[in-house]
Symmetry: C2
Subunit: 315 residues, 2 copies
């Protein structure tokens, strides 16, 4: 086991707590703060990550089919591997359910976990099933990271790019929370997010300097890259691609659980390369700003800085 | 990734559910049913396992210090690596806590996880922290398994051996559930179980044919070995070593969460080798029966079969 560094995290109470814990653990901890831990075991460089989702905190049973609940948790963990440009191999899933959900519901949750793993060539290796008052799912993923990309090497002058189109998961949740139903098009993006694994490996091959998946919201995750790389990320709000069905542009900037890739690329990477990406993956790759000297994420709209919440809070 | 087999599990509703899930997952799952999944990635043969513990189902906050809660979950996962004779390298921990426990309590839980990992040479590689109504902890562990021992290769004629002394965790929980306080000596065994990693590697080197850690209770776990190996395990109840402070011999046979090693060894392994084990690890290794043709776990006391519950249920 090699490596031993703690990447700087952006602002926020959750990150303060994480910092306190890693500090306390001292020598007993290696390689944290990036989306996934990168560890060398023997001849292999591996990436590990885990994501836990709890009923009523991360999702509501009434919103989703059991397969979608499993899919979402699996996708979120696999997206962490994409975020370090690792190739997923396997998944372990610990699931807690109340006794009345231990039959068909549980099997369908595992089905969703298995399905999303299969889309990126990974298999379910095992797990743990326990009795719990609330549904709780923890997906742990393992990948190979031959050439990992961290979030800490963005350089002034790099371009800032985003895959896909943003805002849909945020507006789906907002619709449910308002007592309504989301549009089919935003619901679908929330229910079955796609871990951008192949896209990440391609971007790594094109010289990506920093990579992160948008789980805390574009502005929040840009803040993490800025903090880790010790630079400023300037985002041009009107250039951020908004998903079909999204009504407020702010949703694309602050909405979490997108699992799209935010990537910094050398200036030589331009629109010709972005077209190649789109042709290959059927997905836009959009220039939304640049890396500059300074600190934090700066959002500009119509040439003026705008203040937006930095980070995504669960309901 | 190689391998693809599902080990037979013993009887019980939980195992019926696990069987149903693995069947449904079909090709999307590899290598489950043993204590840990054994997977070959590139040049490395690795072992993975995870264990989830939920407040009020697996432990009560009033019973344990936060460090002990973390230690126990970590020990349980690391013990799964011991059970396949793998050498632990790292741990990921997902922890859900209510907001009032997100400070000192959480840090102390992580301290316990880090401490038990350090005792077996493993480090904490990362994790996930989430907001949850009840405390929930999932520890995922990664080890190297150069020569894994499964639970499925016990052969008629092998001796049946157990490390340590049993019954203490069961009686500690029984005391709490009865509204009292456990004795210090049984409480200590419950609060800080020891993953028998070095002991397992030594036993593997001595030709262990089947290995399992006692998490479901001696009789229950013997049933798993019997089912997986397609043999009968005969246990001589009066030979099972009872821990100091334990009042009922049955506690040693049915009590779970012991994390001692139940191992089958070729007939050539005798008391001289067991003494060597004790000298090396300061722990008894006791002959408690043998492997025979047949099915299931047979418990005899004073030469007569006795019926005991096969398996450990959480309160």
């Amino acid at each position: 086991v090699t490596g031993s560094r703690v990447t700087a995290l952006g602002p926020g109470g959750e990150f303060d707590r994480i910092r306190a814990i890693w500090k306390r653990l001292g020598d007993r901890v290696v390689c944290v703060g990036d989306d996934a831990a990168i560890v060398t075991i023997g001849a292999e460089r591996l990436a590990f990550s885990c994501d836990m989702a709890v009923e009523e905190r991360h999702f509501r049973l009434a919103w989703l089919e059991p397969e979608e609940i499993g899919w979402r948790v699996g996708a979120s963990a696999l997206s962490d591997l994409a975020a370090v440009a690792a190739e997923p191999h396997g998944m372990l899933a610990s699931v807690g359910v109340p006794p009345e959900h231990a039959g068909d519901f549980l099997t369908r949750v595992m089905d969703g976990l298995g399905d999303v793993a299969a889309t990126v060539g990974a298999a379910v290796w095992g797990g743990d099933l326990v009795n719990s008052e609330r549904v709780v799912i923890d997906a742990m993923v393992v990948g190979r990271a031959a050439r990992p990309v961290s979030r800490s090497d963005a350089r002034a002058g790099d371009g800032l790019w985003i895959s896909g189109r943003l805002g849909a998961p945020h507006e789906a949740v907002a619709a449910w929370l308002a007592g309504g139903k989301p549009k089919a098009v935003t619901r679908a993006r929330y229910a079955r997010p796609i871990p951008r694994v192949r896209e990440a490996l391609w971007l790594a091959g094109k010289g990506a300097t920093a990579l992160i998946d948008v789980s805390d919201g574009l502005v929040g995750d840009a803040g993490h890259v800025a903090a880790a790389s010790n630079v400023m990320l300037r985002i041009i709000a009107e250039d951020v691609p908004v998903h079909e069905g999204v009504e407020r542009w702010e949703s694309a900037l602050v909405g979490g659980e997108e699992y799209e890739l935010l990537v910094t690329l050398p200036p030589a990477f331009g629109h010709r390369q972005a077209s190649e990406f789109t042709e290959r993956f059927g997905l836009p790759l959009t220039h939304i700003g640049e890396v500059k000297g300074g600190h934090g994420a700066l959002v500009e709209r119509n040439g003026k800085p705008v203040e937006l919440p930095q980070g995504f809070s669960h309901f």
